[in-house]
């Protein structure tokens, strides 16, 4: 496999871009004269670059741009709506769980073991919820690379 030093790689890329300074050009030409493999690779990359430069994007329909900001705006609003729904839902569900638990504990017609099991179940779920939320909160606060894909 062809090897190039870091400086030679930089010259290679600059030559390809046509941005070599005059003193760099002399070094580059010496390198090309001494290394046929570099010349071959250079020609290949030059052809490739020419082809890529002629490729163009398929343009999206013009109305894409007309509606772009409106779509972002709708997403921001919907995000707020979901946040409110989540908070409201969490409060309502917590209240329902609490009422259910109280009803269960006060229902003397049920066997004692069922009432205790119901209470244990609700406490277990509460501990789990607190633990998950706390973990998420700590990760959010302390992980400065949280946006980075691992």
């Amino acid at each position: 496999m062809m090897y190039l030093s870091e400086q030679e790689r930089e010259l290679f890329v600059k030559a390809l871009e046509g941005t070599l300074m005059s003193h760099e050009r002399a070094v580059w030409e010496l390198l090309l004269a001494a290394r046929p493999d570099v010349r071959e690779e250079f020609t290949a990359q030059q052809t490739l670059k020419e082809v890529i430069m002629k490729l163009t994007f398929t343009k999206p329909p013009e109305e894409t741009w007309d509606r772009y900001w409106a779509n972002v705006y709708a997403r921001i609003e919907r995000g707020l709506a979901w946040l409110l729904i989540s908070i409201g839902g969490a409060v309502v569900l917590s209240y329902a769980a609490y009422s259910g638990l109280m009803e269960l504990l006060n229902d003397v017609t049920l066997p004692l073991v069922v009432r205790i099991a119901g209470a244990v179940l609700v406490f277990g779920l509460a501990i789990l919820a607190v633990s998950v939320l706390r973990e998420k909160w700590f990760t959010h606060k302390s992980d400065k690379y949280r946006e980075v894909i691992r």
Binding site: E10, K49, V51, I52, L55, T56, F57, K59, Y73, E147
Partner: protein, 186 residues
């Protein structure tokens, strides 16, 4: 971008945390095309590029408090966008797209013979197909430099690395692409 543009932009950003969505709207309109094409170069699909770039703007809006106004908004936003795109690729588990959805080439020089045209078209197809076999980050770099004509200084800022590293990465990315094209055309 002129210093005046940047100062106007800083003013828009300062107004965003006060809930002025209109100010954020100016930012979105300034960068939406750039964002879309950058996302497209990673994802290769119109729908996904639109989705990723818009979602990244939403995330940028929510995190605008943490943005340091002396920095450039576009480089900050671009990092959010890139993570968004890579997450989407990870979720979909593949990064291939239909070529017909993507390609649009320049017009042919009239003096070309049919054989030349066919040969060039074959090469172009091979390059295009090779591009989509590259790692998203290599593809993104080649597209940014050779199709979008992004300056090196900007690429270095976006990638958060020295200019020499950008050149090195570009060199290796193009080399990989050369290999893929050679395999394709035989």
């Amino acid at each position: 971008m002129t210093p005046q543009d940047l100062s106007t932009e800083a003013e828009w950003i300062r107004r965003c945390p006060r809930g002025e969505k209109k100010a954020f709207g100016y930012l979105v309109k300034r960068y939406m095309k750039q964002a879309y094409y950058a996302a497209w170069s990673i994802l290769g699909s119109h729908e996904e590029a639109l989705d990723a770039s818009q979602e990244a703007f939403v995330k940028a809006y929510r995190a605008i408090d943490s943005f340091e106004t002396e920095k450039r908004f576009d480089t900050w936003y671009y990092r959010i966008l890139k993570n968004q795109c890579l997450n989407m690729i990870r979720r979909r588990g593949k990064n291939t797209v239909a070529l017909s959805e993507l390609i649009e080439t320049d017009s042919e020089p009239p003096e070309d013979s049919g054989a030349d045209r066919m040969e060039r078209e074959r090469l172009r197809r091979a390059v295009w197909s090779g591009l989509w076999k590259l790692d998203p980050e290599d593809r993104e770099l080649i597209v940014a430099r050779d199709m979008l004509n992004t300056p090196y200084a900007m690429l270095a800022e976006l990638m958060d690395c020295p200019l020499g590293t950008v050149m090195s990465r570009l060199y290796y990315a193009r080399r990989k692409l050369c290999e893929l094209v050679k395999q394709e055309v035989g």
